[in-house]
Structure formats: C-alpha cells, structure tokens
Amino acid sequence: METLVKFAKQRKGVVAALVVVAIFALMYVTDAKQLAPMFSNVGTGALIAAIALGVVLTFRGSGVVNFANGVVTIFVAYWFYGLRFEGKLYIPPLPNPLALIEIVVNAFNGSAKNLDLPNWPTVIDLPGDRLTLPAALAAAMVISILLGLFLHFVIFRPLRNAPVLAKVVTSVGLFVVLQEFVRLRFGETVKTGIQLPLPKGKVKLPGDLGAIPNNQLFLVAIVVAVAIALWAVFKYTRFGLATRAAAENEKGAIVLGFSPDFLAGSNWVISTVIAGMLGVLASPITNLDTITMPLLIVPALGAALLASFSSFGITVFAGIGIAMVQAWIQYQGAQTWFPRGVLPAPGLVQALPFIIIVIAMFVRGKSLPVRGAVTLGRMPFAVRPRKVLPLTILGSAATLVLLFGFNYDWRQSTINTLVAIVISLSLVVLVGFVGQISLAQMAIAGTAGFFLSKYFSDLPFPVGPVIGALVAAVFGSLIAIPALRVRGVNLAVITLSAAVAIEQLVFKNKTFAGESGALKVPPPKIGGKDFGPNNTNLKVFGLKAKDDIPPNVWFGVVCLIIVVIMCLMVVNVRRSATGRQFLAVRSNERAAAATGINVASAKVLAFGLSAFIAGMGGALSGYRFGSVTPQYFGAFASLTFLAFAYLGGIASVSGAVVAGIIAPNGLNFNFLENILHIDPAYATLIGGIGLIVTAVRNPEGIAGTPRLLAIQKAERKARKEALAKQQEELNREIEGAT
C-alpha cells in the first residue's frame, strides 16, 4: 500500500491518465453512446486549450491574466476573414479632425440635415478579388504579432508596477475595445460556412463511440504540438528558463542580466499568435461571432487554473477535457432521468468552468501562484467625502430639472444614469474600498430583479425591492466565501465564472424564470398609485412631466430618492470605522489582521453590502423596463459596468456619479447622440479606450482628476520652490566666494 501511495505521489501524471482511462471504461460499459458527443467536441476543446495556453504564457511572461485572450482569437480571425473571403482590409476607427467641425455645425443645426464631411475609410478594397490562402494566413500572422507587440509595449508595459486591480481592469478594457472593434467593423452577424482546406473525413471509433472528424483532430494535433514546443522551449532554451526565472523572482532575473521587458514582450507575441492562428483555423467548425468565442475565456481560465498557470501539458489536457465534459453534460441533460426543470442542461454546460474553478481554488487556494514583481503601485485614493449636504442638494436639484424640464429622451437617460449610479456605487464599496475585484456585479444585481419579479412583486414598494436586494446580498455573501481564500486576479477569475454560472443556472432556469426568457416586473405602487415608468398620467402635487411619453417622471423621482439614500449610505460607510477597516484590508490584509481587524468578516460585510446596493440597482432596472432578462444581467454587462465605474472613479461616491453619467444609455450618451449627433454605437468603444488610458495614466478616474491635477500642481510648485531656493543658496555661496 505504501509503495502504491509513493508511486502515486511520484507519478501524478500516470495516475491521472489511469484514472481518466478507468472513467472512460466505466462510461463505456454503462452507456457507450454517452461518449460519442464527447469525441465530436474535441475541436472546441482545442480552441479552449489554445486560449488557455495564451493566458498561461502572458501570466508567466508578464504577470497579467489576459481576460481578452478569447477576443484575440476573433480579432485576428475576422481580419483574416475580411482579407480571404471579402477581399477587404478593415481599418480600425481613427480620430478624424474634420469631425470637430461637424460637431460644432451639427450642434447648432437643429432639424436640418447633418453636415457630413469626408472621413477615413472604414475599409479598403484589395486589388484583385481576395487574398490567396497563404497570403491571408501570413497577414493574420503579422496582425497577431503586431497585436502582441502593441498589447505589451503600449498597454501592459506601463502597468508592470501597477496594482493587480489596474491590470485586471485594463484587461477588461481590452476585452471591451477589441470586441467593439470587431462588432463595429464586421457586424454582429455570425459568419458561417467558412471554407478552409482542413482535412476532410473522420476517424470512425468502434461500437457506439461515434467518430472524430478529421478537421477537429487536426486542431487538436496543432494545439498538442504547440504545447510540446512550448514545453521544450521553456525547459531547454535560455529564453524559456529566463521567463520561468522571472516568473518566480523578477528581481532575481534582473540581477542575472535578463530583461523582464523583453521576456514579457516575447511571451505576449507568442500568446497572440497562438490564439489568433487557432481562431483562424477553427473558424470553419466553430463559426465566427462576437459573443461565444470571447466567452471561451471562462473555460480557458478554468483550464489555466487547473494547470496552476504553469504546465502547458495540463493546460491542453484540461482545455480539451472541459469541452468533452461539457458535451457529456449536454448528452445527460437530454436523458429522461435528468432534472431539466431544476438544472437546465445548457446552463450546466456553461457553468461547468465555474464549478471547476471553485474546486481548483478551494483545493489549491493558497498554492495558486501570485506572480512576483519588482514593485507594486498603490490603489486609487479613496477620498474622504466632503461638502456632502450641499453636493446632495445641488445634484438632486439638477436631476429634478432634467426630469421635469426636459422631454422624454432626457428623462429616460436621467433614469438610466440614476440606475447606473446605484450599480457603480456597489463597485465603489467592493472594489474601491476593499480592493476585491468583482466581475459579477450585474449578475448580482440581476438576482434582485429576478427574485423581485418572481416572488416579491406583490409586496408594497419599497418592501419588495429591499427584500430582493437582501436576496442579492445573500448571493454576494456566497461569493465572499471563496474571496476569503483567494484574492486579486484569482478572485476576478472566480467572479467572472460566477457571473456566467448565475446567468446560466438562475436567470435561464425555466423553473425559476419561466419559458419566455423574460420575467415581467409589475410597476411599483405607492399609496395605491402606480409609479411605474409607463403611467404618464400620474400627477403628484398636481405635477407631471412635460409630455405624455414614457417614462413617467415620478418614477424618476423614486429612482432619485433611492440614489440619494444609497449615496449617503456609502458616504457614511467611508467615514465610519467600518470604512477605515475596509481600507486597511485593501492596503494590506496581514497588517489589517495584525491591528485586530477581522479580515474575513470585513470581506463578507463588504460583499454583502455591495450586493445589496447592486440589488437595489437591479430592482430599479426591472421596474424601468417592466421586465428582467438574462441578457441585461449577463457577464458582458458586468465587464462593461466595471469599465465605466473605474473610468468614473472606483474609490469615491463622486466617481460613481460620474460613472452613472457616462454609462451606456446615460446622460452622456444622450448628449452625444442628440446634441453632438455622434453615433452612440461608438460610445462603448470610447469607454473601453478611456478605461485603458485611465488605468495606465490616471487610476483615480475622471472624478479624481481635479485632485490629481491639484497634487501635480502642488508638486510642481514645491519642486519649483525647492529649485529656486537651491538656486538662491547657490547664488549666495557664489557671492560669498567672490
């Protein structure tokens, strides 16, 4: 027995392989047909593995977990598609100086036709019909390399000493920017029927095992070959050894004469080339779209985590394995015994990576790598709120003017802004005050909306939404449990996968959310009166909106009251001892614990409070649309909200207010669209770019800019005075000498 245990410890790989073979044998004996779907999904597994390999590479090379690596696949593949199948080179959105003239003219143009001056082309027709396959592949390779260089030198190199939060939000910003670029240039319609000369036919497996298509085997072979090559490079070459050394100890690598910068850049390029080229080769069997493929990052992160962000072999094995298990779940989900009503099979398939990630985190929690760096920058400054009363009165008065004095589109965008402020406030508490990165905030908000609709809509306002928000707080506290063991980027990974799991298992659960995909939210009633957004006839104190078009202005007033309450609550938290404890935990958990702060309870409290606030936002959102849908509270929405919250200012209430103003469909969008006549389709792209620039240049966000400028001014003044003083002393010495 002892010998067996010793052998198992020494030969973990062999044991794992034996276990897998045993499981397969058992499955074959019980129902061989269940294996057939697994074998026909290995192509998806190859793509997941390729994305995961890129994640591992960038982490080992630069300490960045690239959440955008799934988008890199489509970014390159779409460009390839344009060159190869359309004969077109798509141009990224470029700044157009003439548009400044258009804006000024169109702003004063009234209802007249907008001025439309020449602009950069969106696309260039290539000479001839289209590029040949080798030429298009070479172009895709060049694009992949340039993208890798750009990501390193322009975006992540300046962040090498930044806190984990900045790297994560930058990665999220990159996700948004690349996805928006593809969406704007290539459209959101799925590209199907792509033809590439991949091997045809299939390998027929014995019995009921089905078959593996050769094109999928080809992809698996490529990924395996890449993994072996990477293993060899990292084991036997100076470059690989240096990267491993830098990953362990960056300072040590510098002392030994290696350039972490060069190593990081090279790994970025290899990462984008692997993801991009596999994206191209997989496009005939996976189709090309802007939604599914970017989200393959979630199972890819699961695979990378199982490999401890280190082993290429385990990464590939896990990536393909996850896809095979997903297909197996799909098969079981179709069987009569499966409790479809309680567990939607498609949801379980999407939630599988979350389950794997949670298990990996719990089993290996503290052993997960946190890559070393030379120094780490500080988190955004959480300014102590001042002049709260005057600012509250001023802000509320301005909101009332917008609600009562302007027409329906301003009213709607004001309400959208108010809802976005509430959700951004929840991020301020969690991310800004406690430093816990949550990529699931919209999913948490959604739980309140769905529970409100399903169970509490008959309760009087505001009891219903408050109970809904309390349910969200329970969900938030559940997410806090893993947060007690993991932090930083690992927490970001777990919350992203949790967002997908909540969306798939709760919001798309037909037992809970019904067959139609949307749950109705009846309007809020106060004193028996309908305060819902569609009741434009409602008069309170004889007052109503300027016009009879929804939304009802009094619904906006209800939203304003909730926003004010939430803002004051967060202000008080920041000023209280609890707030100081939060900030202490954010700065250094060990130091906080040493001063007697219960770090675990502080984290649970922060998650719960943040989720409660997000839940209020989710409930308001449900009232706003009259329904709640999985799409609105999906994983992408969480990423977008974090982007705008960080851009506004993640560590202050004023930052949340700015975030609400610039959030999608908020006041800023309405201003851009209706006053400046700027296509709002570009707003998310601009928001993503703004997020990256903010993370790199100004972590305080827009709200913190005046403070940052004041500090810089003071520093300049101090430097100037010091120089003047130095000069004066020098002059005096010279005078003395003469």
């Binding site: 779907p37 026909s40 999904n41 192509g43 998806t44 359309e86 077109k88 959105p93 700044p95 157009n96 548009a99 258009e102 169109n106 439309d116 001056l117 950069w120 082309p121 704007l184 959101e188 319609t189 199907t192 029927g193 078959a211 298509p213 005939p284 069997i285 189709n287 599914t292 297909a327 799909q330 098969y331 179709a334 939607p344 099979a345 498609p346 027409n407 589109d409 709607q412 798309k508 037909k510 067959e515 139609s516 109705k520 078009i549 929804p550 649309f625 009259g626 329904s627 799409q631 609105y632 469909n665 669209e673 209706n674 400046l676 700027i678 296509d679 389709a681 620039v693 240049r697 810089q712």
Partner: protein
C-alpha cells in the same frame, strides 16, 4: 512634463476618436459593409422612404403582378404623387445575433413598390419611422420613439426575439402593433397587436402535428421518436417547451430536445445532435435560425446521420443556398428535408402574392445596387413585405388613425398577403394576437422543391383544427 504630454496626447486621441465616430459610417468608401451590418443599437429613429422619383423609366414590374397588388391594397396603378408622407412605424431586430435583416429588405421593397407602382396611400408616399432593436432594453426606446412621433398611427414589427415585452407594453392601448412574424410569448399574448401570419405557434405547432400525424405515411415508417435541437433564445425555448414537447407527448411520440446557442458552429452542433439522439430517432427536427441550420447540415453530414429532417422556413434562406453551392451541391436546399412555412414557398411559382413579392424585391434590389446573387429575400422578408401590403390595404380603405387600424384588423377575414387560410383576429383565446393558423409544408426532392401539404395543393396543415 513628459507625463502631461502623454496624457494630453492620449486625451486628444480619445477626443478625436470620439468626434471621429460621428461621421465615420455615414461617409467614406462605396464599399462599407460595416454600414449595413453595423449594429444600430441606439440608432435614432429616422424616416426612410424610397421615393417615387427613383422609379425607372422602363418598368421592372409586370402589369399582371402590379394589377394583382393594386387589387390587394386598394390603391391605384402608378407612382404616388403626393408630397405629404404617410408615416408608418417600423421596428426590427437586426445588427446582431440573432438578427433578421431580411425583414427590413422586405419592408423597404414594399415601401418602394407601393410608392412607385401602387399609388402610395391615397396618393401619399409611405415613409417608415424606423427603430432597430439589438437588445432587450431597445424595445422601450423604440416604444418611446413611436409614441413621440405624432405622424405614426400604426407600428409594423419585422421579426424580434428581444425587446418585445417593453415595446408592446409601451405601445399597448396607444398605438396598435402589426406583427409580421410573431416569435415570442409576449407577442402571442399581446392584446393590442395583430399578426396575419401564423408565426411560431402556427409553424412549430403545425410541423409538430405534421410529423406526428402525416409524415409517417409519407416516409413509410412509424414516427415514434423525434430528436430536437432548438435555439437557446426566447423563441426557441417557447417553440420547444410549449409548442413541441407537450404536443408530441399528447400524440404519443417520444421527444428529446437539446438547446443550442444561436452562434453554435458545426463542432458544437455535432455533439448536440448526438446528445439529442438524432442518430436513433425517426425524425430530426431542428428549430434553429439559418446560421445554426448550416451548422446542423454540416454536422449531420460529418456524422453521417441520414434520418428524416423536418425544419422551419428559417433553414430555407439564401445563406443555406450559398453554402450548398460552395460545397458543390447541385441543389438549392438539402435533399430530402421538409420545410414548414406560412403556406406558400419562395421556391415554387404559382402564388400571385409570392410571385409579385419576388419580382418586387429583386427590382428594388437592382435600384439600390444590391447583389442579386446574395440578396437575402427569403425568411422573414416576404411576410414583412406582406404585412405592410395589408396595412396599405387598411389605410386605403379609410383607416386614418390607431383606432381605425384596430377596427380594420378585427374585421379582416383574409386572405392575407402570401399566407394560406382565413384570418380571424382574436379567434384563438390562447394566443389573442394571432389571426391565422394554417401552414404549408414542402420538401426538397433531388433538384426539385415540391409541394407536400400547403396552399398550392389545397392541403395546408392547421394545428388548431387538428388538435381541437
């Protein structure tokens, strides 16, 4: 100082990009697929009228088809001569996945046709106040825009899977919505909306009845087991869970369903098809949109599953035909597949409504410089064209305001343009918005597309009647 410079340059770049955004799509090159494909998530509603002056000197429309269309709409032969536009609201989901741009091709062709050849509405050219939906919350925005436009009395909906609830809630009791292709529960249950096509309940329910009751005899086998792959979207969920599974089970047919993402490729589809048990089923019944349908076809070929395939007209579109052509297959549609639709087919001549539509849409496409080879005129294009023709009929008959359109819809007994069977709005208490229920089924047999049970042979399938 360097930092400030970088910040300034970065800020300038963002500002430039921001300002650059405003005109990029509206100008530039002649080939701008982004302009047509780019999502108009928050596109402002505008008016869009292919005007009478675009009419070519030599008519691309046959006198016979024109006379038929004039008779249907109650208009007059020739171009609309008035200058005061007759504004109809139009909402459609496009620019994303799922998206139905073919519905907009159909409605634009109808506007062009009515304005240039059918005398407009009492001589006034039709203009569309368009609003595009890509996500749930756009429905509310579109409702607001339609309510804010005093010239809009009636709203035409193309095809939508998202945003239906807020759109219909916002317009209920204020402006009636004429739904070209009812696909989701809020549309079926709406009380101030009218659909002259059977939509998903008719087609999916009808095909289910067709499989359970008639297909066995046609194929010479007992239909005991059906495998279904359905779209993981509101319409797909309703189609399987409410319109397929209970009906099959009530008719004694075993059914296994698996949901598929709208973006699923051949790899994912292969495992889903096997999970549904298509290899052992008597019938495989994919309820997916055209993109997924191509993946279904590829996966079935790879897995060499040769069971009987029955599907909806969504698998019928030009993208499928293009795909088969690229694979070197000498047939427009997969051999042996059955397709269910609103009673007639784009591929079989003989129905004057469909014949006139096809002539009109290609003529319109020619004036717009669209590529006839890849013109997506199938799918939801024809029904959306037809619903605007019916709106024109009501308007020409005197419907002048929202109430007038409601009254006309309730009194309408058919025939509807391009659809089979009688019309009776509110005739089905379960689905109050639906006015017609009969469908047609055709089959690809070798190189030919033939009528099986439809309006052409006078044997349409009526799920409502069959199921009592």
């Amino acid at each position: 100082m360097r930092n400030r410079k970088i910040s300034f340059v970065a800020g300038l770049a963002i500002a430039g990009l921001l300002v650059g955004a405003c005109s990029e799509d509206s100008s530039t090159t002649t080939n701008a697929p982004a302009a047509s494909e780019a999502p108009a998530t928050d596109a402002p509603s505008g008016t869009d009228a292919p005007v009478a002056t675009d009419a070519p000197a030599e008519s691309p429309i046959s006198a016979e088809n024109q006379a038929h269309a004039v008779e249907y709409t109650g208009g007059t032969s020739g171009a609309a001569t008035g200058t005061d536009p007759y504004v109809v609201g139009y909402v459609n989901q496009e620019g994303g996945t799922p998206g139905f741009p073919e519905a907009s091709i159909g409605v634009d062709a109808a506007v062009w046709y009515i304005n240039n050849f059918l005398g407009g509405i009492g001589g006034r050219p039709i203009e569309l106040a368009k609003c595009v939906i890509t996500k749930e919350e756009d429905g509310q925005k579109c409702a607001q825009e339609m309510l804010a436009n005093d010239k809009v009395s009636v709203v035409l909906a193309g095809a939508m899977l998202n945003g239906n609830q807020p759109l219909l809630d916002g317009l209920a009791g204020k402006k009636p919505v004429f739904i070209s292709n009812p696909l989701t529960t809020p549309e079926f249950l709406a009380t101030d909306a009218y659909a002259f096509t059977p939509g998903a309940p008719g087609v999916v329910g009808g095909l289910t009845v067709f499989i359970a009751k008639f297909l066995g005899e046609l194929e010479g086998k007992d239909i005991k087991k059906v495998a279904v792959v359905y779209g993981d979207n509101p319409s797909g969920q309703v189609a399987f869970n409410m319109l397929t599974k209970p009906v099959f089970e009530s008719l004694g047919v075993e059914v296994t369903g698996v949901a598929a993402a709208d973006t699923a490729g051949a790899t994912e589809m292969a495992s889903l098809i096997q999970a549904a048990g298509a290899q052992d089923a008597d019938v495989f019944y994919p309820l997916v949109t055209v993109g997924s349908c191509i993946a279904v076809y590829d996966a079935l070929k790879t897995l060499e599953i040769e069971t009987t395939v029955v599907t909806t007209g969504l698998c019928f579109g030009v993208p499928m035909q293009t795909h088969l052509k690229e694979l070197g297959i000498d047939a427009k549609l997969p051999d042996g597949w059955y397709f269910g639709g609103y009673g007639y087919s784009y591929e079989i001549a003989g129905n004057p409504d469909i014949d006139a539509y096809i002539e009109a849409v290609f003529a319109y496409a020619a004036t717009e410089g669209m590529d006839a080879e890849t013109l997506e005129y199938t799918g939801f294009g024809g029904p959306t064209f037809g619903t605007l023709m019916t709106i024109a009929q009501f308007a020409n008959a005197g419907a002048a305001d929202s109430e007038g359109f409601r009254t006309a819809a309730k009194a309408f007994t058919g025939p509807g343009w391009g659809v089979v069977g009688p019309q009776k709005c509110g005739g089905n208490p379960t689905f109050p918005s639906l006015c017609g229920f009969q469908i047609g089924v055709q089959q690809q047999q070798g190189a030919d597309y033939v009528s099986i049970m439809d309006g052409f042979n006078g044997k349409p399938v009526d799920a409502q009647a069959e199921l009592g």
